[in-house]
Amino acid sequence: MATITIPTALRQYADGSASVALEADTVGALLRGLVEQHPTLGKHLFSEQGKLRSFVNIYVGDEDIRYLEGEETPVAGGDVVSIIPAIAGGMYV
């Protein structure tokens, strides 16, 4: 099982969970498993073409998957995968 940490900005789309543990071989499979559990997270992580959004970064441990193998980056049991979205501060409507 790998653990995905969910940032505060997106917890509202994941029933408030701070992290979710899932079984998967790659980062891409892990994220798609997460979206299966929490469908409303989908549009915040993936574009309509199914690509990871450019304002959401994914890290395995402390390394950005863009500098590993992208969504094909393998994950092992015990890995921590982090979703790090761009945040800007206090806007409120």
Binding site: Q12, I87, A88, G89, V93
Partner: protein, 384 residues
Amino acid sequence: MSDVTLSNEEIARYSRHLIMPEVGMAGQRKIKQGSVLLVGTGGLGSPLALYLAAAGVGHIGLVDFDVVDSSNLQRQIVHGTSTVGVAKTESAKRRLADLNPLVEVTTYETQITSANALDLMRPYDIIIDGTDNFPTRYLTNDAAVMLGKPNIYGSIFRFEGQATVFYPKQGGPCYRCLYPEPPPPGLVPSCAEGGVLGVLPGVIGTIQATEAIKLLAGIGTSLVGRLMLYDALEMRFRELKLRRNPTCPVCGEHPTVTELIDYDQFCGIVPEVNTLSNQYEITPGELAELLRSDARPFLLDVRNPYEIAIASIPGTDKVIAVDQLPERISELDSSVEMVVYCRSGMRSGRAVELLRSAGFHKVKNLVGGILRWSDDVDPSVAKY
């Protein structure tokens, strides 16, 4: 460096710095000779301005166009009750003058724009990003990269903060290496949710101030190439590696952005045009009259549950958070007159568009939301 000296008054004031060998007289003189531009004098800018002034940074520039509001004081500790209604730059300057009259403070009561950013930044050694929106973040980043200056970045949202130092001139990445593109406005969770734990910008702003003082004094290991993450709810600090993107449009090997652009457009923000025609809008005054008449409309609140606990319009018939509207639309009756509201009228405007496209033609948006309802109709309804 040798031309800057410390007076006996300064030696007494900064003595707790001077007796540390890592800072000493040499480090304190560098801090005194240093200059820092703070972009934003809000949540992050408050602790930044206070600590940089207290530390004896010789010249501090403050850029902000806003005035102090009582809702700022939960976190913007450089301001005070006595300066509510005063320009934030002026309010901060007064506080800094009391804290340390030996530092020079220059205020710029203006919005930083593509037209003035380079001129504002040029006189300063270090730029600090204490802004609260994406267009200004990209603008601050790009201008700092073009001028070859370090940009000390901090960002906050609810209980979570990020901080790092962008310094491409010294080999590190810039903000665009981290996030090449901003989120489209409709998808930014901060717009729909907002809010920030008051002490959070204190933690992140203080990290930024620490990095500024270290850079000026030339000591320690900076956050260049590392993104510091802070989760206040879990009380956890983490650190991620940041790499320079060789294809970065601003700091990469072949930059394509070589002058400042229109950052509102880049961030997908279009000048506020009213997409709803008047037919689909109602003012608080008109709604109040309707609610007193026999033609009482169905009143739908599209805010989040925790907002309902703060304030509501009396007589609300139903609450469905705007995010849930698409899946719960079947709970609504398109044959009845309906008025939709939220805090400011933004989310309810989106809700009305969504309802119209789903075949609801008797639906209106309450212009100005609860805020204007409180102003125009019922001041006993709290504004938040």
